[in-house]
């Protein structure tokens, strides 16, 4: 079950970055470790049959301006920090929304909360979380999904 959810999370993450933000996978081998993520957006979701879940999308510092600029069709230097945060929240919303059917199928109705900006380090991780890291052109994106209730 977790393998299927892992694959679904990866598919949702890749689709959102490629189709909304025109940011693609970086397949080049690099001797240096990937940069740490520094900003994230959390979405809380609940359904009557599958409880409460927390979804975190986090990105490395240099990735966010590029992603936001691509989404809006603007140069990086025309973006406010609000624009960048809003872009991350919308990406989190899309990745989360597309992943939810992998938890409970297409019959389930979910209540999805508004995304909020967080420091990824402040979000408590669980042993059984589903986790995907993508190395993208310009940085790293991570998605973490945990059942919290």
């Amino acid at each position: 079950m977790n393998d299927e959810r892992h694959a679904a999370l990866r598919k949702s993450l890749v689709a959102a970055f490629e189709e909304m933000a025109f940011t693609f996978m970086d397949w080049e081998e690099s001797p240096s470790p990937p940069p740490a993520t520094s900003i994230g957006a959390v979405v809380s979701c609940s359904s009557s049959c599958d409880g409460k879940w927390r979804f975190l999308l986090a990105v490395s510092p240099k990735l966010l301006p590029t992603v936001a600029a691509n989404m809006l069709g603007l140069p990086d230097d025309h973006l406010s920090s609000d624009d960048q945060e809003d872009a991350l929240k919308e990406l989190a919303n899309v990745v989360c929304g597309n992943f939810l059917p992998a938890i409970a199928g297409r019959a389930a109705i979910w209540d999805v909360g508004a995304p909020t900006i967080v420091n990824p380090a402040s979000v408590e991780r669980t042993d059984d979380e589903i986790h995907v890291t993508l190395k993208l052109e310009g940085g790293v994106a991570e998605a973490h999904v945990s059942r919290i209730g």
Binding site: A16, M20, K89, E90, G97, R106
Partner: protein, 124 residues
């Protein structure tokens, strides 16, 4: 399709701008593109200024896209306005409800062609 007036309702300003840009770059001649950040704000606009078509997100604060759609369909002056839902909604039950209420559905992430084609189809 000369000079249509379009309302975009989404709590994300980035998404509103993405949809607006898609419309502006498509082959749709617009009179005005109006924006609202939630269903309640959209209703205020709809009741003061007639629009030709409304594009709605679903998950929004204050009043969701589904609540707005239901309110529009129950309102004599708003019920004929074509509606397109733009959402990640994966529930078959909710999608069936959108169809019952005569709303088209576009799944996020969307392509520019999907938005433009759906608007042209609903306004044909």
């Amino acid at each position: 399709m000369p000079g249509v007036k379009i309302l975009i309702v989404d709590d994300s300003s980035v998404m509103r701008r993405m949809v607006k840009r898609t419309i502006e770059m498509g082959q749709i001649e617009t009179d005005r593109i109006l924006e609202a950040g939630d269903g309640n704000a959209a209703l205020v606009i709809l009741r003061s200024e007639p629009v030709d078509i409304a594009l709605l997100d679903v998950n929004m604060p204050i009043m969701s896209g589904l609540e707005l759609l239901e309110t529009m369909r129950a309102d004599e002056t708003l019920k004929a306005i074509p509606v397109i839902i733009i959402s990640t909604e994966g529930s078959d039950t909710r999608r069936a409800r959108f169809a019952e209420l005569d709303a088209s559905f576009i799944h996020k992430p969307f392509t520019p062609e999907e938005i433009v084609n759906a608007i042209q189809k609903r306004l044909a």
